[in-house]
């Protein structure tokens, strides 16, 4: 398993953001992490990326503990956060060079051209983040994540700010990385994207996992939703908001 989460909890003072969460993501799998605001999705992703320390439980990337063996774990993963906080004084190309240096990517020149092409960043190599749109900055963050051959990819709202063409390309990119063997955990409120791209879905609510399975398994689950329900309907039902909709 490339991502392994065992009894993970995270508290902020009195608030329990994530409570006893366990799941695994295998190589080549794309798992969607969905839930209402405050469900604990971003906390889970940030903890997996080594940004937040877990209050309890074990988080492993490619067998490496994110707390005890942080450097090795981080070498295996790429985290694409929802807010593109770039260094405002580095150009797009320099961001990529910096990441290449930190992750010891030796074939930078060979990798960078196709990546810029793939993410429609050609011609923007010498631009500063201040000169880029929100969507473009998001692409730079994603490019930094895809610069190396990470075995684990964590996406937090990867399509925010992207145009329709960008969204389509991003879907293709994510699928291609999974085909290459990466384990992908993707958090998004865009349920149609999750439905289309992910091979499995984890639904969280108030810090707890309330459903986990392939879309077909969730849809076929008589207790959750009527037969033929969409992911949106399943989501609303399991989170107890179907009446509100």
């Amino acid at each position: 398993m490339t991502i392994s989460v065992e009894h993970f909890s995270r508290t902020y003072g009195d608030l329990t953001a994530v409570d006893d969460l366990s799941f695994e993501v295998a190589s080549g799998e794309i798992v969607g992490l969905i839930g209402p605001n405050g469900a604990g999705k971003t906390t889970t992703l940030r903890s997996l990326a080594g940004i937040l320390r877990p209050s309890a439980g074990r988080l492993r990337i490619d067998g490496h503990e994110i707390v005890g063996d942080a450097l090795e774990a981080k070498r295996c993963l790429a985290f694409m956060p929802d807010e593109p906080h770039l260094f405002e004084y580095l150009t797009v190309e320099e961001h990529l060079r910096l990441v290449a240096r930190l992750y010891t990517v030796t074939d930078f020149e060979a990798r960078v051209r196709p990546l810029l092409e793939e993410l429609q960043l050609n011609g923007k190599e010498q631009s500063l983040p201040g000169e880029l749109s929100r969507g473009m900055r998001q692409k730079v963050i994603i490019a930094c994540g895809l610069m190396r051959s990470a075995t684990t990819l964590l996406f937090d709202e990867p399509l925010t700010g992207l145009d329709p063409l960008g969204i389509r390309r991003m879907r293709t990119t994510i699928a291609a990385r999974a085909r290459d063997g990466a384990a992908i955990l993707l958090s998004s409120h865009l349920l149609h994207l999750v439905e289309e791209v992910c091979s499995r879905v984890i639904i969280m609510d108030r810090g707890r996992k309330i459903a986990d399975g392939t879309f077909a398994e969730l849809a076929a689950h008589a207790e959750l939703a009527p037969a033929g329900s969409s992911l949106e309907q399943i989501f609303l039902r399991v989170t107890g908001h179907d009446g509100a909709a």
């Binding site: 902020y12 940004i51 906080h85 240096r101 930078f108 201040g130």
Partner: protein, 576 residues
């Protein structure tokens, strides 16, 4: 629009005060507020009261103004006028643009689309700046020594006129600079005329001053001020200085008639300056639009302005991670610093040094340059690490990104220190070189070998002190992130000032403690060697002290690694 400006200004001031009072509930602001208030009290009120009581105790004779102060007061308008002329000229040379042209996000969003002429927007900006200027003027009034309450008020009002005029003038300079590259001959003439006039005026005054002092240095401050006053009263110089003297005269004028008359004249000069700036309507239109675009592009709260420039330092794909952090900060410096501005500053420093050397020992000018270079060296070493924040204090904003990188925590901390430490050290070395070059005029009694040894040892110790302070600052950023303003943030208020004082005092205290082992070891080396090599023993002593502090810094960065690992991103976000 004026009514709206008043409304915005007053509501902002009121709400800001409320927020600052409310945040005193948090211990860090309360503690900062207490320290800030105590600082203000002891530097202004207590000192004033101390002086008054001392004067009362010493009797009337002792309370009389010393002759040098009296001579300075008489020469005040001339000195102030010359100073203003120099500042007026420097405005054109030094980089930077006026704060009057820096619109806030809200101003851009609300006022730019509103049916308001751009001239009124400028008036709005002038009005918005008044509270800060009034506060500054009040501080000057309070700091004025040995005068009564009403005189303090008069000084405050007079200072306020000077500050407003300077602010508006600087806005005019910023607008005129935009026209210097114009392709239209008429616009070029209009833009270059004030520069040519100013350059001529400065040249005439400098020649007059040089004639007054060359070959016959003043015997003391009384004579110095008297000669300056004489120069200012010479024909042509008097006419040149007239508008500048007019502006500063109310500060020195007697109440009531002289003061009121001079205040009216100063207000006239202020009015003329405002009219000159408002004439730059087209340039203001462009400058305001550019400022708005830049701000919108940079995002909310972002003030730094970066330009893509080749740094001629491409990050190699392989190497230690510390190097990558140093490269990152170096690129930031290259993109932030205006090269032309830097060249101007360096040229100015070089010219001052060259002039002071060429004028010779008798002029006293070399002593002034040497003295300020020495002060500058000390400031660079002791204040530089507090001011230059291209390290963890700034990168806490990017903690999310940094923490996802596979870099050893201690290496991150070390990498963050490298570039700012190197930059401050180089600046300190540059100033130290000037100070050493001028030392024959400042400390002529000391032997050349001693001065050289002292300067060399200072150069050796400088990086140790700088890196030690940077380690302390970065340690505080990691251990107490809520106390550290992020990025370009500059919190204001008494409490924020108190927080900065606590930080500065704490840093120096820790620096003193950290320096003890190095100082002791260095002292032993100096004591042992000074019998053999004399003053040159300072150099090996400094080397030993620096080596010990360097080891301490390395150990501290290793110790801070776990703090970096533990730092909670939410503690940082709350501080925002």
């Amino acid at each position: 629009m004026i009514g709206a400006s008043f409304y915005i200004t007053l509501c902002t001031a009121r709400n800001r005060l409320r927020v600052r009072l409310r945040r005193l509930r948090e211990p860090r602001y309360l503690l900062g507020g207490i320290v800030g208030a105590a600082y203000l009290y002891f530097t202004v009120f207590a000192r004033r009261n101390g002086r008054s009581s001392a004067a009362r105790r010493a009797g009337r004779a002792a309370a009389q103004t010393p002759p040098s102060m009296a001579a300075m007061a008489v020469a005040g308008p001339a000195l102030g006028g010359m100073g203003l002329l120099a500042l007026t000229a420097l405005c054109w040379i030094l980089p930077g643009s006026s704060g009057l042209l820096t619109f806030s996000d809200a101003e851009i969003q609300f006022l730019f689309p509103a049916p308001v002429p751009r001239r009124k927007l400028l008036l709005h900006r002038i009005l918005r700046s008044q509270l800060g200027l009034l506060f500054g003027s009040m501080v000057v009034g309070l700091m004025t020594p040995t005068v009564g309450g009403f005189t303090r008020l008069r000084v405050s009002v007079a200072t306020w006129v000077v500050l407003v005029t300077a602010k508006v003038y600087f806005a005019g300079v910023s607008l005129s600079r935009a026209k210097l590259a114009s392709r239209q001959a008429r616009a070029l003439r209009v833009a270059w005329t004030p520069i040519i006039v100013l350059a001529t005026a400065v040249t005439i005054v400098v020649i007059a001053l040089t004639r007054a002092f060359a070959g016959a240095p003043a015997s003391g401050p009384v004579e110095l001020f008297a000669r300056i006053r004489d120069v200012a009263s010479q024909a042509v110089v008097r006419e040149i200085l007239w508008p500048f003297v007019i502006i500063v005269r109310p500060i020195f004028a007697e109440w009531p008639s002289a003061y009121l008359r001079s205040l009216v004249l100063a207000a006239g000069v202020l009015g003329a300056t405002v009219v000159w700036v408002l004439q730059s309507d087209q340039a203001f239109e462009e400058a305001a639009a550019t400022a708005a675009e830049r701000r919108a592009a940079a995002g909310s709260g972002e003030r730094a302005r970066y330009r893509v420039r080749s740094g001629a330092w491409r990050l190699p794909p392989i190497g230690r991670p510390e190097g990558a952090f140093a490269w990152k900060a170096a690129v930031q410096t290259i993109r932030l610093v205006d090269r032309r501005g830097l060249i101007r500053v360096v040229a100015l420093l070089f010219s001052l040094t060259a002039i002071s050397v060429s004028l010779g020992r008798g002029s006293g000018f070399a002593a002034i340059v040497g003295f300020f270079a020495s002060i500058g060296t000390a400031m660079a070493i002791l204040i530089g690490p507090q001011v230059l924040r291209m390290d963890m204090r700034q990168d806490l904003r990017h903690l999310e990104l940094l923490k996802s990188w596979p870099v050893a925590p201690a290496a991150v901390v070390r990498g963050q220190l490298l570039w700012p430490g190197a930059l401050i050290t180089v600046c300190a070395w540059g100033l130290l070189t000037i100070a050493l070059g001028m030392s024959w005029a400042v400390v002529a009694r000391l032997a050349w070998s001693l001065r050289l040894s002292a300067a060399a040892s200072a150069a050796i110790v400088a990086p140790a002190l700088v890196f030690a302070q940077l380690t302390i600052h970065n340690g505080v950023a990691l251990l107490l992130p809520a106390w550290v303003p992020l990025g370009n943030q500059r919190p204001r208020g008494l409490d924020a000032m108190g927080q900065r004082l606590i930080m500065l005092g704490g840093t120096w205290l820790l620096l003193a403690v950290a320096s003890v082992p190095g100082a002791v070891a260095g002292g032993i080396v100096w004591f042992a060697l000074q019998w053999i090599v004399g003053s040159a023993a300072l150099i090996p002593a400094a080397l030993v002290a620096t080596a010990i502090v360097a080891i301490e810094v390395l150990l501290a960065t290793e110790a801070l690694g776990p703090a970096y690992e533990r730092i909670d991103i939410l503690a940082v976000e709350r501080a925002e």
